[in-house]
Symmetry: C2
Subunit: 279 residues, 2 copies
């Protein structure tokens, strides 16, 4: 691991690291904010999963998360959104290939060699973070859009792995919307059952009665340009209701899909995670 | 004037507008954050001047200013850093020409036709803002690096025009440092006296005994890569002491020249301005 950026920020340090990922078989970058408390104590870690087209930079430069992470003593880790590099398969559109890993493990050629973002985010990255930084094993997960899908799916697939979960404008039912259908067809093949293992609403529908049910906080802008076509939060409401999963879904008049929306509410999400992570 | 972006943010609206500037003889863009209070009352305006290479986007996407502007009921206007367009003269380096207007009125060819950022920021832009938005004529000014130079110089050259002033890592003595020497030689010619009219430390040295003296807040990172070569805050300290001008200069260990530094302290600057602008 090599540190390639370090900036003092709100009394802590916003850093970017690079490392050779064995899961993804390429070099990867991630952002990590170390709050002032991490100088003297182990801090819990909030993993943030970004949306389509993003790198590790978008969230750390635009969301204003550092102020709240410093207030609450939470480390924030923001990985890239896919494997990267000349040797990694890519596609023409912004919604498939590099920048569009969808936080799953691909089974289809040519994607299956590198596109294993689920295992990277769930296993390899926390192991690195917990070994290198003053991080505890208390983990929260959140994200935006494709990354909101990632947060929901990683939580639902890995009971006990996370202590807190939230999302901004998530893709809640990728098997039912154009972004997800395109990506899943490429990464997972045309078998519809394979897609259900990576679809939050489908995972909720098969949730065991005694499964872990964390309080789920979701914020959604009502002026979001992708609301009706790609996001469809009503499907998450239905799935949570049917499976008895707690959900606080807040709809915000006038807010769109941008980082201005995330910035306006990230403080409340950090507080939501911190309450569980410090409990 | 045409609105080209609008995003709900912290209960208000982050917008970007474009207009044909008669001062600069080109089309210009500026960012404007309208806090929730502007829906029902005239609000004072903080003008933010960005640094070398920036457009109107950098500050509005990276500084996190909107939260504080919403708390304090302050409109924030962020212009571009130079005239723009294919018809506007430019130069090879990042520190001259487009993106590097230095907030002065150029006297030398080929720059003098378009490069009149002083008059644009002091006169044309406030007239537009005060006519179009729910803005009072209470104005504050701040900025970063080249824009910190701009804030200091516009305040000192225009007594009574601003009610509050501050700067982040400003170029305080452009006639004495490489960035300023290069730009001033091009825009103003080799006459050293011409440069003194656009140099904060020189303007302080000739400040009239009865001139307006606003409380001046300046923050400077001690790990700033341009500290010793381009910024030299000790020259501002000396000039303020010699001219009896108030100055609170705060040096911050570990902080660099980036927006992570600005984001960490912009809340205190907005509070500094709001106290004067609402008085």
């Amino acid at each position: 691991m090599e540190k390639i950026e370090s900036h003092a920020c709100f009394g802590g340090s916003q850093e970017v690291w690079t490392h050779a990922s064995h899961t993804l078989a390429c070099d990867m970058r991630f952002g990590v904010y170390l709050p002032p408390q991490a100088a003297t104590a182990r801090c819990p870690v909030l993993y943030w999963l970004s949306g389509l087209t993003c790198t590790e930079q978008n969230f750390i430069t635009k969301a204003g998360v550092q102020r709240y992470a410093a207030e609450h003593g939470v480390i924030v880790v923001a990985p890239d959104t896919s494997p990267r590099g000349a040797e990694v398969p890519d596609a023409e559109g912004y919604d498939l290939g590099q920048g569009a890993g969808f936080y799953l493990n691909a089974t289809q050629a040519p994607w299956s060699t590198h596109y294993r973002m689920h295992d990277y985010v769930v296993d390899e990255l926390p192991a690195l973070v917990e070994a290198r930084f003053n991080a505890s094993t208390a983990r929260g997960i959140s994200g935006h859009s494709m990354g909101g899908h990632g947060a929901l799916v990683l939580y639902l697939r890995n009971p006990g792995r996370y202590r807190s979960v939230s999302a901004f404008a998530p893709i809640v039912a990728p098997t039912q919307v154009p972004w997800g259908k395109k990506a899943f067809a490429a990464y997972l093949g045309e078998d519809r059952d394979a897609g259900r293992d990576w679809d939050a609403c489908a995972l909720l529908a098969s949730l065991a009665p005694d499964a872990q049910r964390l309080p789920l906080l979701v914020d959604q802008g009502e002026a979001d340009e992708f609301l009706a076509t790609q996001l469809r939060p009503e499907l998450l409401e239905q799935a949570c209701r049917a499976s008895g999963h707690p959900l606080v879904l807040r709809r915000h008049a006038g807010y769109d899909h941008s980082y201005y929306f995330i910035a306006s509410l990230i403080g409340e999400h950090v507080a939501h995670h911190a309450a569980a992570l410090h409990a």
